[in-house]
Symmetry: C2
Subunit: 410 residues, 2 copies
């Protein structure tokens, strides 16, 4: 199903994509990069200016020839990026460069079903940018489930009642009156890091999200690889070394049974109840439950049992990633999601195991690092998907209605 639509590439022919990806550029450089004459670029820029999509950005320092005016994207372009998690909704409004201008996040339970969740999405977007001000020209949205990218639907086996094959794209687009693009939540985080984070300019990398569960975004030759059923990167149920823990999926020894927010909270309770961790015992008594953040706090306070839990987590995920490094030979692994905040100990453990367990050649050019965008990775990537859709549609039909609102509200 999914997987075919092009969402990567620099789009050297597209003025809008060039400006988005490289920032404001002198007219001369725009012409060079597009391989067309300066007068042709001048005409194209003038047309975009009339539509309110680009603006003048002053004069570039002369390089000896004619002075060249700098072209910028209009300040009035707005995209919305939405990141639906298992327990939260995040919404960002970005400018034309997919830089976040405004961001809100609220708790939500994805199990409430698509109608309730998408209603909140509409409210949050219109709360941030009332349509009467500067309406968004496109929305990108990630959901914590496999997605049929070409159909804009989630394909969900368990745990998300009402979401299976729900036409997210079409219904949300109808409600908001702008195009919507839907992808998996980890894929949009990978896109965010690729276009605005630590994976800028990196063609082949993995984005590993460690949140409640564990998932992976795969970027091959500058494009997200989604697999034939839209579920590529579902690494949470790969067998983790010699683990024999029962996973919620019914199998033995899955990565998610050993690590991730849910597993860590469970292990923390065991540590608290056994008395291994005085810190966690105290905390459990105080608040009645424990989370991954409590383990992080315990570790920071020098609690040995908490440190052991984090190292164990780093070890099992490192083993799985080592296998994927052998298989995929990426140049980078970016670690994100809530548990990436557990700190340098987790990263160090993962790095160590990956270096030990992968073949030396596969790690020659490999770096393993933390997300550069943190909480904003998903919404940034979602906004980028929205921009990609907008620019592709505009380049196909330059006089589309989609472009009109930007100019009118300027």
């Amino acid at each position: 199903m999914a997987s075919e639509a092009k969402v990567g590439g620099v789009g050297t022919e597209s003025l809008l994509a060039l400006l988005r990806d490289r920032g404001p550029l002198p007219m001369a450089e725009l012409s060079e990069r597009r391989g067309v004459s300066r007068s042709k670029t001048g005409q194209d820029v003038a047309a975009l200016r009339r539509l309110g999509l680009v603006a003048d950005g002053g004069q570039a320092p002369s390089r000896g020839g004619r002075p060249s005016g700098i072209v910028t994207l209009s300040d009035h372009i707005r995209y919305a990026g939405v990141d639906i998690g298992a327990t939260s909704i995040g919404v960002a409004i970005t400018n034309g460069y997919c830089e976040v201008l405004d961001f809100v996040e609220e708790d939500a339970d994805v199990r409430d079903g698509p109608e309730a969740i998408l209603e909140r999405v509409v409210d949050l977007i219109t709360g941030l940018v009332p349509p009467s001000v500067t309406p968004v020209v496109g929305v990108g949205l990630g959901v914590p489930a496999p997605v049929s990218f070409s159909e804009g639907r989630s394909i969900v086996p368990p745990l998300m009642p009402g979401w299976d094959r729900y036409p997210i794209r079409d219904l949300l687009s109808e409600a908001l009156g702008v195009p919507v693009t839907v992808d998996n939540d980890v894929n949009i985080m990978a896109l965010g890091e690729m276009h605005g984070g630590v994976a800028r300019g990196v063609s082949d990398f993995l984005f590993v999200k460690v949140g409640t569960g564990i998932g992976c975004g795969i970027v091959v030759h500058d494009q997200v690889y989604r697999g034939v059923d839209g579920c590529a990167g579902d690494i949470g149920h790969i067998r983790a070394g010699e683990s024999t823990t029962l996973c919620h999926c019914g199998r033995i020894g899955c990565l998610e049974a050993e690590f991730g927010g849910a597993a860590l909270a469970r292990q923390a309770v065991v540590s608290a109840q056994s008395g291994d961790s005085p810190f966690l015992t105290r905390r459990l008594k105080e608040v009645g439950h424990l989370t991954a953040a409590d383990v992080g706090a315990a570790n920071a306070a020098g609690d040995a049992a908490a440190t052991r839990l984090i190292r164990h987590g780093g070890h099992v995920i490192g083993e799985v990633l080592a296998g994927l490094v052998n298989f995929f030979n990426p140049s980078k692994i970016v670690l994100g999601g809530g548990l990436a905040q557990l700190g340098p100990l987790l990263l160090a453990e993962i790095r160590g195991v990956v270096l030990q367990r992968s073949t030396p050649l596969a790690t020659t050019n490999l770096s393993v690092e933390l997300s550069g965008l943190g909480d904003l990775a998903g919404v940034t990537g979602a906004a980028w998907l929205a921009s990609e859709h907008f620019i592709e549609a505009f380049d196909r039909h330059p006089a589309t209605e989609a472009a009109a609102p930007v100019g009118k509200t300027a």
Copy 2:
């Protein structure tokens, strides 16, 4: 390094690629598929005919319109495909459709070094087609090592003295006087299955070779994915479940320590010496050593210990492949290499474990099957690489010398 050169895609603009990939075609269909007029196609075909690259193939049955002549590739086009294994050299001569016309294989030890091995390659090719008859217009070659595809060199850490960064492409090309393309041995097998075997028309699949060692060819969107260091698909050292066997690489529990020709031969000796397997005990006494083929023969003769060894091998490789199915969500896994001949028991065990251990969504559209080309997968894929190089070079410069020999020797 590697990984960038384009070796896939149908090349809808290229007459030669269209004919190679789709077989002889009526002139009318050629025009339709290229999206150009019949008179333009007629001119192009006439030019190719003058160069001796295509020939007339009779009249196509009329579809109501004008009768349309069938265009075929010239019978005189010859490619050579070379498959260098750890212990053998295979050389095939193919026609322009990459169909094998002639094939020889001989024992060889890759540790003899590149000079000795490549000298044999030259002898074998010129033995099959003396340059005075119909010279080959291109050679493709696979080596059992990571390859820098763009440089045409092998990049070999251990076990292959003399091969590290050896300029295979340039030296062999000089010796033979035709272009040479070099790739990893498993990648060429994947290419063979994609263009002439059971993966025809399949965009995203894995080719798993189980020979002395175990490797994997990865096809993403119709192209071989080679990784940033040219070593993608090196799955032999992925940790296999709860295994604690010491691998020759110095790590514990690698897939290759549990399965593959070397591991199986070692396990067979243990079974023979312990008396578990009367068949293998007898065989070891007779010939002094055991191979994977002996285990296959023992299993076929109803020897329970041999059956257990094969099932164990299927189990551990199935566990690793299940993880890769979750990660990569391919539509097909093709199993090849010498040990694929162990028969239906191995395939059944692998299929069973993959279905049990992968997520249900990832196996919805998955098939796991045996190589369609067997011993010829590698040489077929190597010849296809040669054809791709020839056609690309020809399409860039239609009047190249490379094309000339075909016509002249007709």
